[in-house]
Amino acid sequence: MTNMRATFCESAPLSRRAMLTGAGALFAWAHAPRIASAAGARDPRLVVIILRGALDGLSAVGPVGDPDYIGLHGEIALSATGPDAARPLDSFFALNPGMPTLHRLFATKQATIFHAVATPYRERSHFDGQDVLESGLPGVGRTTSGWLNRALAALPAGQPIRSRGGLGVGVATPLALRGPAPVVGWAPQALQPAGEDLGRRMIDLYRHTDPALAEALARGLEIDRLASREMGDEKGSRGGMNSVAGMAQAARGAARLLAAPDGPRVAALAFDGWDTHANEGGPRGRLAQLLSGLDGAFGEFEKGLGDKWRDTVIVTITEFGRTARINGTTGTDHGTATVAFLAGGAVAGGRVIADWPGLKSHQLHENRDLRPTTDLRAMLKGVLGDHLGLGAATLAGSVFPESATVKPVTGLLT
């Protein structure tokens, strides 16, 4: 399914579907390479943030104007009104209140949100979904290189963005940035403590198999939380790179490296913990806290990149979305379409780009998930094409193999 009809959701919701067909004409798909834009005045910075575990797009960016939304997403649905009101984006979508920075960037036209996007992967395995998301391959298959690295490798030799290499943030470089082009790794802390989600999962496993280990680990984590609360942040981000403080710390460091005149221009990092099967929370709770961590990372990038921010695009993507209906544990299970964020001074922002599929039973993918109407690769190609100057043939060749039918979304950048 390729999306030829992406549109800007700035109009009233009633006319949304009606305008979609015509809106396709607004897009003149770029067939000509635009090398000039990268080689010219702009010295681009590109950051790719991967959210591992599958972000619930319907709780991050709520279609509050869709009459079927609340019925499906129940108590974790975002609401345009009330004490925990979501932040309005347009007349149809609203942003999780945990993301004030992204909302400000959106309001100042420095952020664009894609909704109902998905990779070509249609099963529900995190492992395979992450492989497809990061490898850029059209389907499941293990590989040793990712689309971002191959994009770098495809640039003409001698371009600073290529010669300075990629920056892999964290103890392991995400697959998206691994491959033939040189990559340097940097981790905010050499020894990352395990995140809360891993601890939670182990305690759950022990409760079923080994109660003594469950009790010991639960007490160990509890005292650690207590120490963290009482001693503050003395030991750095105790929750690792996936805690709110850890995300900010990683972004702060990466921003400094990217801002350095002789530093790398392209970075990739991954935040884990988005697999919210239980107690997901809506405007408050676990997901909102994770989103606030991501939001804080956006803020750190903006601050740390300084005057390079205007040449920056931060791409935030996840392997797939989550079920439209909440489950019996007030969470959501593995789904299909979700959201993607573009933030940065180089983004022609202030828009939610979505060919909204609707949330009625027959409109859902397999009667359970938000149906994908935009191929995530169309967005990524649009960014890589306009920001790095890669041509359509390269993008459909080595970067995203066998994707000639997936046309880049143009006009995403200033």
Binding site: R52, G53, A54, H126, F127, Q130, R142, T144, G170, V171, A172, T173, L175, R178, L191, Q192, P193, A194, G195, D197, L198, G199, R201, M202, D204, L205, Y206, H208, T209, D210, A212, L213, A216, L217, A218, R219, G220, L221, E222, I223, D224, G240, D272, G273, W274, D275
Partner: protein, 203 residues
């Protein structure tokens, strides 16, 4: 022993005392208990301890015979895996499971220290504890969790952790563990869970 007078001169006196000490039934029971506690359970089955003690006595303290008696004992095989791998055993097992032998000893030494078993440096002359009860501690389990994550998050091209569970635990792999690994949100997380699973922690 106590109250006995050893009349031998010089060195022979000490040797005579040690020899009698070695042949004392309490020594056999002590060695048998330590042996069974290390390999089988913190509170080993009395029948097993008795059989090992007899072996020790009957062979004049032959440790090979003692080991063979243990291996031939049904209790050694039927006892549930209640022992917790010591930090040393855990780190060695982790290196083997991930197929990544350390290039230098630094990480292993650092891991041993952070898990509470610094190499050859126990807090007292009686050495490190050999009971699961001593190692199943809140701070110890938290440290193992962090270390498992640090190991797993560094590995880029790993095989399927659920397949690795089969290799590691075979028929002893619990379906609950398998399901938990398959539901992990990333391969790295699944590998960390495998390293922390009862199958990998207990023995």
């Amino acid at each position: 022993m106590l109250g006995r007078i050893y009349a031998q001169p010089d060195r022979a006196q000490g040797l005579a005392a040690l020899e009698e000490l070695a042949r004392h039934p309490s020594t056999a029971r002590h060695i048998a208990t330590k042996f069974a506690r290390h390999f089988v359970a913190d509170e080993p089955p009395p029948a097993l301890v008795e059989r090992l003690a007899r072996s020790f006595r009957d062979t004049g303290g032959d440790l090979k015979a003692l080991a063979e008696t243990l291996v031939a004992s049904p209790e050694a095989w039927s006892a549930p895996p209640t022992k917790l791998r010591t930090p040393y055993e855990f780190l060695i097992a982790t290196a083997r499971m991930t197929g990544r032998a350390p290039i230098n000893a630094g990480p292993i030494l650092g891991g041993l220290a952070s898990l509470g078993q610094p190499l050859w440096a126990p807090a007292g002359p009686n050495g490190f504890a050999d009971t699961a009860a001593a190692w199943v501690s809140p701070e110890g389990m938290k440290a193992r969790l962090d270390l498992s994550w640090q190991v797993a998050s560094r590995i880029q091209d790993m095989s399927d952790p659920a397949e690795l569970l089969d290799k590691v635990a075979g028929a002893a792999a619990s379906p609950v563990t398998r399901q938990a690994l398959e539901r992990a949100e990333s391969r790295q997380q699944a590998l960390a869970m495998l390293l922390m699973s009862p199958e990998a922690q207990r023995r």
